[in-house]
């Protein structure tokens, strides 16, 4: 079987082609899907914030425990307290929103600092920040979280701070390699020769113009990370606690009935997690392909 790739000539002027048209169709699908998920997340957030939900997510219905989908208007059924699963799914994103942002914030800000110190000034700072990065990398994230839980109290913000801190090395190494690449191209020397101040070079020319996309991609991946970690922690009992709904604790409590053949209460949130994380990952991937790798051939 032969698979032909189609190429059509175009004799028109091609200078002004927007970047999304340059993207491979696959990347466009990825980004489209990712943006769709982000949109859903934002919509859920707004719906949750304005209480525009099919049911009150906290409303307990003792007569309707573990109802299957479509029962009495509960589109996705009810959970072990007879609460509406759909409403809880919608509002569940809020459990990740601020903690996730905290993790992302820590990772991006400190990671960028580390990266700039290591890449821009180099020398001893480079060695020191590489050492610190390696040090942070030496801790398996979940084990470190368990250590923190043992030492302090389990709290989603503490956990997310740990997630953020352990993500620093990734961001730092990306920023560092970016700066080293720019250095190789004599970009920084040229800028210095133009009389620009260090601050201007770093903030405007390096971070804003060249590292923006890297940071955006890392932020999308960070959100996915936060959701997955919280899910694992929920299983271990240290995640977001009732009555606040989070997708993680919904899967966990639903999974208690999984073995008895009652799949739905855990499947609905698990699929939500799956689709959302896929969305963030694919968005990051697509952006990476477009913005970072395939500038042009």
């Amino acid at each position: 079987m032969k698979r032909y790739t189609q190429h059509t000539t175009e004799f028109s002027d091609s200078a002004g082609v927007p970047f999304w048209k340059k993207a491979a169709p696959v990347d466009r699908v990825y980004i489209g899907y990712g943006l769709f998920i982000v949109l859903l997340v934002v919509i859920s957030y707004i719906l949750g914030a304005t209480h525009f939900l099919p049911f009150d997510p906290q409303e307990i219905n003792m007569d309707l425990l573990m109802a299957p989908p479509q029962t009495e208007g509960h589109l996705l059924g009810t959970d072990f307290m007879g609460r509406d699963i759909l409403s809880r799914l919608i509002i569940g994103i809020q459990a990740y929103f601020l903690p996730g942002l905290l993790a992302i914030g820590i990772a991006l800000v400190l990671g960028t600092c580390f990266g700039v110190l290591a890449g821009y000034w180099g020398g001893g700072l480079d060695i020191a920040s590489t050492f610190l990065s390696n040090l942070l990398n030496s801790f398996p994230r979940l084990v470190l979280i368990l250590l923190m839980v043992a030492a302090f109290k389990p709290n989603i913000y503490l956990v997310m701070a740990v997630v953020g801190i352990t993500s620093i090395p990734t961001v730092a190494s990306l920023i560092k390699s970016k700066i080293q690449f720019l250095k190789q191209k004599n970009f920084i020397e040229a800028a210095t020769a133009l009389g620009l101040k260090n601050a201007a070079i770093i903030f405007k020319h390096i971070l804003w113009h060249n590292c923006r996309s890297v940071l955006i991609i890392q932020a999308t991946l960070g959100m996915a990370e936060a959701i997955l970690i919280e899910t694992s922690l929920s299983y271990l009992g240290f995640g977001v606690q009732e009555p606040t709904p989070s997708w993680g604790n919904m899967v966990q409590s639903g999974a208690n009935y999984f073995m008895q053949g009652n799949f739905w209460p855990s499947t609905a949130p698990a699929l939500t997690i799956l689709l959302t994380i896929m969305g963030f990952h694919l968005l990051g991937d697509g952006l990476n392909n477009i913005l970072e790798r395939k500038r042009d051939q």
Binding site: N137, F139, R141, L147, A150, S232, L236, F258, A270, R293
Partner: protein, 326 residues
Amino acid sequence: MRYPAFFKARSAMKLASIRPITVLISRELAIAVLLLLGVSFVVFLVLFLSPGDPFSSLLKEQMTSAAGSHPGESAPWYSQYLLWLANITRGNLGTSIRTGLPVLNEVIRVGINTLYLTLGSLLVTLLIAVPIAIVSARHGLTPVNWVLTMFTYVASALPVFWLAYIVIYISMHRFGLFPLAFGSSTQKWNWLHFMLPVLVLGLSNGTMGEVVRHMREELSRVFSEEYICTARAKGASIWKHAFKEGFLIPITEIIAAKIPYILGGAVVVEQVFNWPGMGRMAWQAAQDRDYPLIMAITLMAAIFVRLGSLIHRAVHIVVNPRSSRE
């Protein structure tokens, strides 16, 4: 006349080419030791800052004998740390608050189990991800390997315990097999008991999608290197030439980078599959605030991570002589 000179020069060359490697590897070792020191310090710091002063109980005997004073009060933090460190280097990690067993033995015992699980699932991850990466690096995204790639993305986005439940459910109701790896002393040993947890963790440790992407990028980058073109031009196998840079180095890189993630996933998988490993013990220790135990587990996990990256560095140094110049 010619040969003696030749041999002399050759041996000199050999020396020159080998010495840097041993030097470099020992340097890596030294860095690893330094990092472990750092890890121990961080662990110490976390517990030191935690409410409840876990160290006074840990170091009680040493402190009183060393400082001759009441523990925890007069001793400054650094002497506490040094004492603790000295104990560790002597192999004395204390005894578990919960069971009274020496922590070192306990952690080594469960550590080995976790190592099986970790390495096994790493193997699973690589066995699935690498072929997909190779195929898509070589042939681009065809529908088949696009589907496979998506599969790896799905796998890495699944909550691991949920997948574990599904696998257990299916294996019980479909195959009539109860997938508990350990705790089966009266049952006949079945390799599937071992395989399922490894498979679940391998699939769903959250790294597979990234492994595929990394391998694919590295491989396609190497395939577009000029020396691969040279290799093709001289009729040699490009796989052979791309092996070291496009395969060996990225794989050791992945192994080094993903061990922490897999160890994290192991915490959950060990719970579900009743695997008597470090993760399960860490969870128990976190609940009981069994400080000596959780410290030892964190250290042990860090040792695993450092070992992984040591292997990576060693391979990198041995394979790539350029790095000896860097």
